[in-house]
Subunit: 242 residues, 2 copies
Amino acid sequence: MPNQRGENDMPRFKTSIALISGGLDSAVAAAIAKTESNQVVALSFNYNQRHKVELEAAMKIAERYAVKHVIVPLSLDFISNSALTSKDIAVPENRALDDMLSSIPVTYVPSRNIIFLSIATALADVENADAIYMGINAVDYSGYPDCRPEFVTSFQRMIDKSTRRGVAGASIAIKAPLVMLSKADIIKKGAELNVPFELTHSCYNPSDEGLACGLCDSCLIRRKGFQQAGVADPTRYANLQQ
Amino acid sequence: MPNQRGENDMPRFKTSIALISGGLDSAVAAAIAKTESNQVVALSFNYNQRHKVELEAAMKIAERYAVKHVIVPLSLDFISNSALTSKDIAVPENRALDDMLSSIPVTYVPSRNIIFLSIATALADVENADAIYMGINAVDYSGYPDCRPEFVTSFQRMIDKSTRRGVAGASIAIKAPLVMLSKADIIKKGAELNVPFELTHSCYNPSDEGLACGLCDSCLIRRKGFQQAGVADPTRYANLQQ
């Protein structure tokens, strides 16, 4: 059999780092990384996150994708002003989607993606990777400043000036393939790539059994996305009749 | 008594984060931060560094400066390709100063300053700080890509696009007041500001008792700096007749 793959189907990157949180978006971004790279190394963080079930989801996703998975412990306890790192701040519920975009919510963990991406560039150096994939999104999102295209382009410029590959004239390409997609389009893309949605976790405030609350910003955006995409939502919600 | 201070003497920043490693340069940068800010919060990292005596030095310096000191635990064990995070890689000794600049040495910890500065921007958000001071230097240094002015300016642009203060049109000023100074000039500046050099630690490869080796790149640069500045060197070296 001749190789039916054209040039456009060839992997563009030798090794890519894929940041996976256990959430839906990063699982789709990692699936895209797999199609565009010869090899993928998954990276997650154990930062004592409120929704630790996310990290367990990340481990299951990396296992399903059959990729090496590096988990970096990271203490973000000093970030006392975020609902995702401090148990003293409540996660908002049942907000209108428009309200989510009107101001930066208490679930914002300041500089979280900046920190995660910085550590990813260190792992890229160790693994000699030429790309980093992340699932950030600036359309159906919660208004976090480090989820926007401006973040990606300015971070790219910064590492081109200040990493071993960058100063050697090579680069580590920061890939955020979902940044301008709606949640519905992300879900459609994931369905095409057979992303195991049932393993992903989006809820900020899961029950002790790991069920999604169905009420936080992240659950609301996810539910609406599945509805709009016309894809069956495998999520088990604690507070909804299903 | 009238206030004799002119406008130029007034603190420019309300609250500054000062990254202190325990080394000489960051102690001088923090001393400058103190003169230019109403309040300073010191930030250090416990990353199981080879030269852990540095962290003890950082604690003594913060205590001497009488500033709040946040120490963030950080696992960089995954960075297996640096002599400062892996015990399997030897620290080079007795290199000529020119050789240090000819290539990136094995003591380079990839993206270390990018990671540290990213976490500092998170702390700046928590503390509502308007500046971050760091002691990086691109003159008498070891050729690390994230110690150069290009790093500072590109990091500044990145956080202006991707932090809470940045998108609000405010800024967190990244201050690297030593970046273009020679080691001798840094030491002269520190002497003016009564920096407790005897508390600072620069050696990459200290003895079990915490004495400086006198032979690694960092010791060689420090010793030469004190000699050129004409300032007495209080460092206790394990391998030198003094």
